[in-house]
Amino acid sequence: MADIVLVPIILILFFLLLLAGLYIHSVLLGVGVIGLLLIDQGNLLNGLLGSDPFNSIANYTLTTIPLFVLMAQFVLNAGIVKDLFTIVYNISIGRKGTLGALTLVVGGLLGAVSGSGTATSASMGQVAVPELRNYGYNQNLAGAVAAAAGSLSGIIPPSLILILFGVFSETPIGDLFMGAIIPGIIMTLCFMIAMVFLLNRTTPPERKKEKIKFTRREITKRAIITSLGASLFIAFVIFGGIYSGFVTPTEAAALGAFGGFIAAIILGKVNKEFMINSIRETVNVTGMVIIIFIGAKILSRFVSVSLLPRKLVESLGSLIEYPITILIIISLVYFILFMFIEGGAVILMTLPVLLPIIEMIDINLIWFGVFVGVLCTLGLLTPPVGLSVFAVGGVTRIPLDGIFKYSLVFAGFSGLVLIVLMVVFPQLVLWLPNTM
């Protein structure tokens, strides 16, 4: 079939299936299979569908995904979020701006022990929202602060998005993690600025100087030491361990999960329910990633065999000399996709097409991975599908549209700052990996 007909047919099919509500994994798989049939390569189905599901999964780097999810589950189910937040609450002694800022700091710290913005947001919603409300935050802003704090787990390493990007593009996960640290910190700072701004706008002038009646919350020394100790241990293993080469990312994930488990034992949280909840959540995320991964693999085979990227890059011609134009187009596409679709799925569905292009226009893959990771994290906060906001709304029963009003400000402001900074100063991403 001629490319001039093939491309529109494939695109229409893709969006038709997507909008009809077909699961993403089946959209990828289906378009891949139909695409192969259309270009008269149905004979390849035997080889690809037969061995790809198993062989593309038997991948050492992919192991990090279930392990990091398991780690996050142990940490969250051990009640460490609650402990950390109680510590922060006690430090804030009634100053509302401080509590909001510290909530975001806790979010950043949790980011270092959790790979998923959604899971962390749910915990933050449970723990932080009632206290923020107490301090006089309107409920929508409180929800947005919790969602933003939780979403930081999406970019601050370990990050499932970066792992998926790394596995699919064969970019070292360690480099991606190191590259994401500075943008992650900048994002935390941007969230704080946005938070202060929004707090000022939503607080009536007469209540601005008001200090809340404050009573210290009870927390045992053992809980303080264990929660802080476990978080610091895990963060140390992940950052220090990977940075120094002491452990590979996969090993860091196993050690981190083990550390979380030990902490849960010390905190007396390990029982049947704890194990079942932790495992179930891990299995869900793993199952999801794997089935999408298989679909994406098949789609990427079709894309390769069709030779479309090669032809596309040829037809882009002189545009190749202006990578910035292509980058702007790609950013827009991602921004839109992340609005509607879960981040990991977006990564897996776009890379088969984009990777060959990115490689041909010579954009650094580590930089690009972190860039996409940032966009994806902000997508957790944007309507209509913003999983961090969904998670907070789910546990707090605050209406979603209210939270989105504010979370959109968090995402928009940080996105603008980060995109400009990363494009103008790529070293913000590349400096740390280069010192490894």
Partner: protein, 347 residues
């Protein structure tokens, strides 16, 4: 599967695929020039569509890709698949002298050898033919040597307390024979692990250092003791091969021999580039002859043992281990290489 789908009358369209990168020694030094040459000498009658880097078939699954019809021609790094290609490991046997030219010529002769090893079958019939494969020889890699991040083999004890990353069963057996520790880990993770001192070194071919940036890491290399040459072949199903016109078959065979020489030179210059770089950056290359006598004999005794281990391993699987070892030994010596003393006595 695609041999008949050309656009023009008589055009042969072949899908070529491999798991390796186009910039790797085999990609740049062998496969790409081989295909270009074949296309040229057939006046464009044979056209290749190439997929490198696992785009179509994954590394170590090339043979599956061939039998499943994903590609018409692939590189088969058979050593990665000892279950189906058990005898290919023979080129990983340690030698006391050789280089990429010697090993490549010996390997080409091994593939073309009609010496009957078992049941009246030659090496190529047993190893590839029985798998339904037509194999054209490819240049081997440069020799595997022991390199460390600076750890020196100045005593037998030093050898015994070293831990090395192994990449084949022969290396694994050798590490055991010389009582050194061994680790297995993916190539991509090696740099970080060695960089922080998780283990001392590895068996690696110098020409391949740049793949993972090892030229900045390896500071101490023992030369003159060589732990084999990794081999690969260009594989087609016998069916595809038979479907090719005779003159195309001839051209392919002819080009193969010429490119082996070209590719061996390419490997050599890659190796020299790494050595020059390393020397400039404080790297040391020590010939085994310069080592302490006790260390020398400790290392050499281990080398012989690997041959016996290999023969035993083959014979356990009812394969002609001894015959194959003798054939390989003779081919290596014939091409100007050398083997451990005891092995010369092997009958």
């Amino acid at each position: 599967n695609n041999t008949d789908s050309g656009n023009n009358e008589g055009e042969i369209h072949l899908v070529a695929a491999g798991g390796g990168s186009p910039n790797h020694g085999w990609g740049e030094g062998f496969f790409t020039p081989w295909m270009e040459e074949v296309t040229e000498r057939t006046d464009g009658r044979v056209q290749f569509e190439v997929f490198y880097s696992g785009e179509l078939v994954e590394n170590t699954h090339e043979y599956d890709g061939l039998t499943q019809g994903l590609a018409d021609i692939v590189n088969v790094p058979a050593i990665y698949d000892p279950q189906r290609f058990p005898m290919s490991e023979v080129t990983m046997l340690p030698l006391t002298h050789s280089d990429v030219h010697i090993a490549s010529r010996a390997f080409a002769k091994l593939i073309e050898s009609d010496v009957e090893l078992k049941d009246g079958k030659s090496f190529v019939e047993l190893e590839y033919g029985d798998n339904g494969l037509k194999a054209l020889p490819v240049s081997t890699t440069t020799e595997y040597v022991i390199s460390t991040t600076g750890y020196e083999f100045d005593s037998v004890d030093a050898v015994k307390s070293a831990t090395l990353r192994t990449s084949s069963r022969g290396h694994e057996a050798y590490a055991q024979d010389i009582a050194a520790g061994s680790v297995t880990m993916p190539g991509v993770d090696m740099y970080d692990a060695m960089n922080r001192g998780a283990f001392e070194g590895a068996f690696y071919s110098i020409a391949d250092w740049s793949g993972y940036g090892f030229q900045d890491l390896f500071k101490y290399t023992i030369t003159g003791a060589n732990y084999g040459h990794f081999n690969s072949t260009l594989g087609m199903t016998q069916e595809t091969w038979d479907s090719l016109p005779e003159d195309v078959q001839e051209i392919m065979t002819e080009v193969t021999h010429e490119i082996i020489e070209y590719s061996a030179n390419d490997w050599e210059s890659r190796k020299q580039e790494m050595i020059d770089y390393s020397l400039e950056n404080g790297g040391v290359f020590v010939d085994i002859g310069e080592l302490d006598e006790e260390v020398q004999s400790h290392l050499l005794v281990g080398m012989e043992q690997v041959w016996y281990d290999f023969i035993e391993l083959m014979e356990e699987r009812d394969l002609p281990g001894k015959e194959l070892a003798i054939l390989w030994r003779d081919l290596v010596i014939e091409e100007g290489g050398d083997v451990p003393e005891d092995i010369k006595e092997l009958e």
